[in-house]
């Protein structure tokens, strides 16, 4: 158990680039004590600060009116979400009341997200706003909330990467010089591809651009837009080695020294090879660098 904790602490440390940098500057490796202190820091909470801020918000805010007893009870629940919980709670409540949700539902969701990591909550806010507001996708509330949940609390990978992926993929999809596709299609497409982010360390957007561009522009491929989009998704969902496997298989399929296939046969062969880029049903998920599931559970109680 002690060994496992040490390994977890070590993994956490190397997932924090700023920490790694500070130690390398002083030219020494972190001791076990340094790691333990960092791990401790990450689970210690300034609960009274959170309680006071949440109570102050409930007493003064313009979005919802609650009596003193209710406000205190709510502030206690928010405080369980650890550092930053009251700010997450305030932002969610402000957004949900501004879009026209009932007090009950807005409080329920705000309280839930106060217990999640700030990046997870930011994902919900940004993706919901993009999906719901008329200036963007203009979805109805239920569809926008579904998209936002899929890429926030239900997403297993890194919330920062998936958010960047979603925003960049939407931009790419709508861009007049690139895809220039209808808004509704872009929203669904961006969510579908962004969900693959969990298999890619630096997100899926760059692998997607490179692969899609190759499928469209390489002389031996020159695929139409729809086929290129379909193949991009189907290959990328097989994990980070699938693109290389696909390309090698395609070239080998066409080659005189290889399989001497037609273009269509080589594409089918390449897709088969791409699908075999991992063992099991799906590629392994790269876990989020920082999440606080304990706090989320506590707030939901």
């Amino acid at each position: 158990m002690v060994f496992l904790n040490s390994v977890m602490s070590l993994l956490f440390f190397f997932s924090q680039p700023h920490l790694a940098f500070s130690y390398s500057q002083e030219d020494h490796k972190p001791t076990a004590r340094d790691l333990a202190l960092q791990a401790q820091e990450d689970v210690l909470c300034w609960s009274t600060v959170e309680f006071k801020r949440a109570l102050n918000f409930m007493r003064q805010n313009k979005f919802i009116v609650m009596n003193e007893v209710g406000s205190r009870q709510l502030a206690e629940r928010v405080a369980r979400g650890c550092n930053g919980a009251s700010e997450r709670f305030e932002k969610m409540l402000a957004m949900l009341k501004t879009i026209g949700l009932s007090d009950k539902k807005a409080l329920e969701i705000a309280l839930e997200f106060s217990g999640y990591d700030t990046e997870v909550q930011t994902n919900f806010l940004e993706i919901f706003n993009k999906a719901f507001l008329s200036e963007f996708f203009d979805y109805d509330y239920t569809s926008a909330a579904r998209l936002a949940y899929e890429l926030s609390k239900e997403f297993k990978g890194d919330p920062v990467q998936v958010r960047e992926d979603f925003i960049e993929l939407v931009r790419f999809c709508k861009d007049g010089k690139k895809l220039d596709l209808p808004l509704n299609f872009c929203a669904e497409f961006a969510v579908k591809v962004a969900k693959l982010s969990q298999y890619y360390e630096e997100g899926v957007r760059q692998p997607f651009y490179s692969f899609y561009t190759a499928l469209r522009e390489r002389k031996d491929l020159s695929l139409d837009m729809k086929t290129a989009l379909d193949i991009s998704y189907n290959v990328l969902k097989a994990g980070p080695r699938a693109v290389k496997n696909f390309m090698e298989a395609f070239e080998f399929g066409l080659s005189d020294k290889g399989l001497m296939m037609t273009k269509d046969e080589a594409l089918s062969f390449a897709l088969r090879m791409a699908r075999r880029s991992h063992v099991g049903d799906a590629p392994p998920v790269i876990p989020s660098k920082k999440v606080r599931p304990e706090a989320a559970r506590a707030a939901a109680l």
């Binding site: 801020r53 102050n56 918000f57 003064q60 805010n61 313009k62 979005f63 305030e90 932002k91 402000a94 957004m95 009341k97 501004t98 879009i99 026209g100 949700l101 009932s102 539902k105 706003n129 719901f132 507001l133 008329s134 200036e135 203009d138 109805d140 509330y141």
Partner: protein, 315 residues
């Protein structure tokens, strides 16, 4: 042996309408004229209870009632019945034979409307006169009924008809509220001081066309509610209801009457709305209600202002 009184008491305590749900027309109710009767018979020695059966002369299901004493009060529809009684004797697990049958006539002493129902709203198909059947519950021993029908415009010149039946069809023009009452002339020597109740119904002209809502929602906002005018409409009733996005029940926000098919939308908070428009005109049936549901959304700027206000609120 159980015996009914030869002169059975038949006391009219009250006459009333009752809504008898019918199995034939689901969810429908039919107004049936009823009356409360009181029956009394000779008591039987050691009787624990009595069972009374009233069988309608015209068939149908008999009414079966239990009484603990030798009398029964019951509300039944007007008509003719045969009545019989039997007793359950104490400590014996059986009934006595049924008594002799007595014929019972349950009739009203004043008219009760059957059609058109009092307060009914009837819509005509076109502008021509409508053949409307007036029907009422029979009154005992009546030789002739006199029907009097009038509207506000014909207050001093009502239509008056005589008939021996309990219904009469009249051709009357649509677009009025009508009043009617039925007098009767009995064949016996009893003379009633009649002051029959007055019933009313509304016979409306052809229904107005449902308005077509043309309101535009642009970027999650509405500037004005608009709809195509219904031909012949004298005005419109407009209702605006609101609900939060996650709820199902609308709450009425505003209700106005307008002459023109336009209604400026004042600033609406974000949420789900329902606009309902109904056209109306004198002497015409109001149109069906046109409905339009829409969502008011904040702009990106409004959302940003709401989030920025949080930072300003912090001490």
């Amino acid at each position: 042996m159980l015996r009914l009184y030869n002169n059975i008491f038949l006391l009219c305590l009250a006459a009333s309408h009752a809504a008898f749900a019918t199995d034939l027309i689901p969810n429908a109710t039919v107004a049936v004229a009823t009356k409360i009767i009181e029956l009394e018979w000779d008591a039987v020695d050691k009787a624990e209870s009595y069972e009374v059966r009233l069988t309608p002369e015209l068939g149908g299901v008999a009414f079966l009632s239990m009484a603990l004493e030798n009398r029964l009060t019951k509300e039944i529809p007007l008509g003719r019945y045969s009545v019989e009684v039997r007793a359950k004797i104490k400590d014996e697990d059986k009934f006595s034979p049924w008594s002799e049958k007595i014929e019972l006539e349950v009739m009203s002493k004043s008219t009760l409307p059957l059609r058109p129902a009092d307060g009914a709203v009837i819509t005509a198909e076109g502008k021509k006169n409508v053949a409307l059947e007036f029907a009422w519950a029979p009154v005992e021993k009546v030789k002739e009924y006199t029907v009097r029908v009038w509207s506000q415009a014909r207050k001093n010149k009502p239509w008056v008809f005589n008939t021996s039946k309990t219904q009469k069809t009249l051709n009357i023009p649509p677009g009025e509220v009508y009043y009617w009452q039925v007098f009767f002339d009995r064949s016996d020597v009893i003379s009633y001081n009649q002051n029959p109740p007055i019933f009313s119904f509304s016979l409306q002209g052809k229904q107005l066309v449902r308005p077509e809502i043309t309101t535009q929602v642009e970027s999650g906002k509405v500037k004005v509610f608009s709809w195509k005018a219904s031909p012949g409409a004298g005005g419109y009733t407009a209702k605006l209801s609101y609900r939060p996005l996650d709820e199902e029940q609308y709450q009425l926000l505003r209700k106005v009457t307008l002459k023109q098919p336009l209604w400026p939308a004042q600033s609406l908070r974000a949420g789900q709305y329902k606009l309902e428009i109904q056209a109306f005109a004198l002497k015409r049936a109001p149109s069906q209600i046109a409905e339009f549901e829409f969502v008011i959304k904040p702009t990106v700027d409004e959302m940003q202002r709401a989030l920025n206000s949080l930072a300003a609120d912090q001490p």
